[in-house]
């Protein structure tokens, strides 16, 4: 099976509860409906890390909760490791681990090891196998020294690492992570990202769905990215594919020695800055086929300018994200 997560036409509509005042004044009025996700389609291949990006309230958590069986969809279907999330929730839960950024999901007065033992038993582990697995995971997330301290004494980073260990107890094939580095300092976040990439994905070949607000994290970890906005997945693809879709023209930064007398051509000068000496820096927007760039460089050489540097500018993910979200807001 190459697709470990499949989602098709997934829609979740919440019915808003009414206040007593509303019930008294308009008892027969239809209750307001809120669409959290609408017609979501998504496939994640085995061993892939897919980043799910979106502004607050876009529907990321709703999608994750449907996949973990905590929410029932209104329409559409989802499969994890080939099992339907509504019809076969037990097999789905045997196949996936869920890492939440919610620190409250542990027993604070129990130690890290006691917490893992408890959740391990609920994940069908028993006896010596359970003890060994807990110890192995505690070592892998570097909590073995603090394993017998109470959870409430842990730092945010330690709590988050224990959440990762808990999700891996039953060695799931799919790991769903909801903002795993949210409360971590930069060093701890970097450490966890390396663990996800090298250990979980690289060595163990797990499939990972990672919801995050951290665009840098998505850029560095994820093979593909899905941007969700206003309940719908607006775009899915590799970073290059998304950049290409969002910006059909390339940008270049070119430094010339001398002043160009531009004749005009299939390029657009977005910015021009005078530098020290007689150098000038041009930011250029050109077509993908290279015609505009060739034309600009030819003009530069014809006017006796020397090309000091020529650098292709990649559209930052932040800008791609902003464009997708903004376009969506304008469309609605």
């Amino acid at each position: 099976m190459s697709m470990m997560v499949q989602v098709e036409g997934l829609t979740k509509v919440f019915v808003k509860s009414r206040s007593l005042r509303e019930l008294a004044l308009r008892p027969f009025r239809r209750r307001e409906r809120i669409t959290a996700i609408e017609d979501v389609n998504l496939n994640i291949r085995r061993g892939e890390i897919l980043g799910l990006l979106g502004p607050n309230g876009a529907g990321k958590t709703t999608l994750l909760k449907i996949l973990t069986g905590l929410l029932v969809p209104t329409r559409g279907w989802g499969r994890v490791a080939g099992y339907d999330v509504v019809r076969d929730p037990t097999r789905v839960r045997l196949s996936l681990g869920f890492v939440t950024s919610e620190e409250r999901s542990f027993y604070w007065r129990l130690t890290g090891r006691e917490n893992l033992h408890f959740f391990g038993r609920l994940s069908n582990l028993t006896g010596a196998g359970l003890r060994l697995r807990c110890q192995e995971l505690l070592e892998r997330v570097e909590l073995d020294d603090a394993a017998d301290q109470r959870f409430m004494t842990y730092s945010s980073g330690m709590k988050q690492r224990l959440a990762v260990a808990r999700a891996l107890l039953h060695d799931p094939r799919v790991v769903i992570m909801d903002e795993p580095t949210r409360s971590l300092d930069p060093s701890a976040a970097r450490h966890l990202r390396r663990f996800i990439q090298e250990e979980l994905c690289g060595r163990q070949g797990k499939t990972i769905l990672l919801a995050t607000h951290n665009l840098e994290e998505a850029e560095s970890l994820c093979g593909r990215i899905a941007i969700i906005s206003r309940a719908r997945i607006r775009i899915v693809g590799t970073l290059d594919e998304i950049r290409a879709a969002e910006s059909p023209r390339d940008r270049y930064r070119i430094v010339l020695n001398g002043t160009l007398s531009a004749q005009g051509g299939p390029y657009r000068i977005v910015d021009e800055v005078a530098m020290e000496d007689s150098r000038r820096e041009y930011t250029l927007e050109v077509d993908r086929e290279g015609e505009g760039l060739t034309c600009f460089l030819r003009e530069a050489l014809n006017t006796s300018c020397r090309v000091v540097s020529c650098q292709r500018l990649e559209l930052p993910l932040q800008e791609v994200f902003d464009r997708v979200v903004q376009a969506d807001e304008e469309a609605t």
């Binding site: 069986g69 905590l70 037990t90 939440t100 999901s105 027993y107 007065r109 006691e114 959740f119 994940s123």
Partner: protein
């Protein structure tokens, strides 16, 4: 160890570790029972002359009568509260969601969560009964527990637990649905204290209320347990009450589980599973 036993053991260990971490609270939780038993001992002494024991329990004192009533009323209250309060506590601490993403069925999560309370209440009931007997002896009186009634008592205890558990699970279903203000808990608890023969004989009630009291499992449980513990009744003598308690169990446990699974599904549809 089977998965079921292992999971129940996990809940037991978790709650034991949690309780032991609050050492003072763990030790002092029996203090309330001590003061209650002592208070009722002296109330009973002042009401002793006015109390007429049931025909099948001649010579039984009011203190013995109320001691058994109070001990098992605690059982009912604990059952009613443990399922719903555990669920609510797990919602508040955020651990309910973490448990429900494991392969353990929701119904087992509920039963396992209440296991500790059940065991502790059983222990507390034992302490209350022994405390009462000790107190009475200290003042030169007798509660009069009958060893010959113990086999029937243990069977009745098991049936009482299952009958009460059905109501408790139903109460948990309401907690998942309504979050607060579970009507089952309020209604059954209040009606049981009033009509169940906890503090006074059911025969003291008007006739129509006596009929209503028959609809409560505690009424039958208390009658039978008093017969066994205070009258030394054997299994055959309490067979009628045992059948009624069995009927309550057979009806209420599946009903409670169905209601709980239904409420859980509704909460998953409405997205209110971890709201509180």
């Amino acid at each position: 160890m089977s998965h079921l036993a292992s999971k129940l053991w996990a809940f037991f260990c978790r709650d034991l570790q949690h309780e032991v971490s609050y050492r003072v609270s763990f030790l002092f939780q029996f203090a309330g029972s001590f003061f209650f038993v002592t208070t009722w001992f002296f109330i009973s002494r002042s009401l002793a002359a006015a109390f007429q024991p049931p025909d099948e329990l001649p010579g039984v004192s009011y203190f013995a009568f109320v001691l058994v009533g109070f001990a098992f009323f605690q059982y009912l209250q604990s059952t009613l509260n443990s399922f719903s309060s555990k669920i609510r506590q797990e919602q508040l601490t955020g651990t309910l969601e973490a448990m429900l993403v494991t392969p353990t069925p929701a119904a087992l999560v509920i039963l396992g969560s209440a296991l500790w309370d059940y065991l502790m209440t059983t222990f507390r009931v034992g302490v209350v009964l022994l405390l009462g007997a000790g107190l009475a002896r200290g003042f030169g009186e007798q509660v009069g527990f009958q060893v010959s009634g113990l086999p029937a008592f243990f069977v009745l205890l098991a049936l009482t637990i299952t009958a009460f558990a059905g109501i408790g699970i139903l109460s948990a279903a309401f907690t998942v649905w309504l979050k607060r203000g579970d009507p089952v808990n309020y209604l059954i608890s209040a009606l049981s204290a009033l009509l169940g023969g906890v503090f006074f004989r059911v025969e003291a009630l008007p006739g129509w209320l006596q009929y209503i009291s028959r609809l409560l499992p505690i009424t039958h449980a208390l009658e039978a347990i008093r017969k066994a513990l205070l009258g030394g009744a054997g299994l055959a003598e309490v067979a009628g009450e045992m059948q009624i308690l069995l009927l309550f169990s057979v009806v209420l446990i599946p009903l409670g589980l169905v209601a709980f699974v239904f409420s859980l599904r509704q909460a998953r549809v409405a997205g209110t599973l971890v709201q509180y």
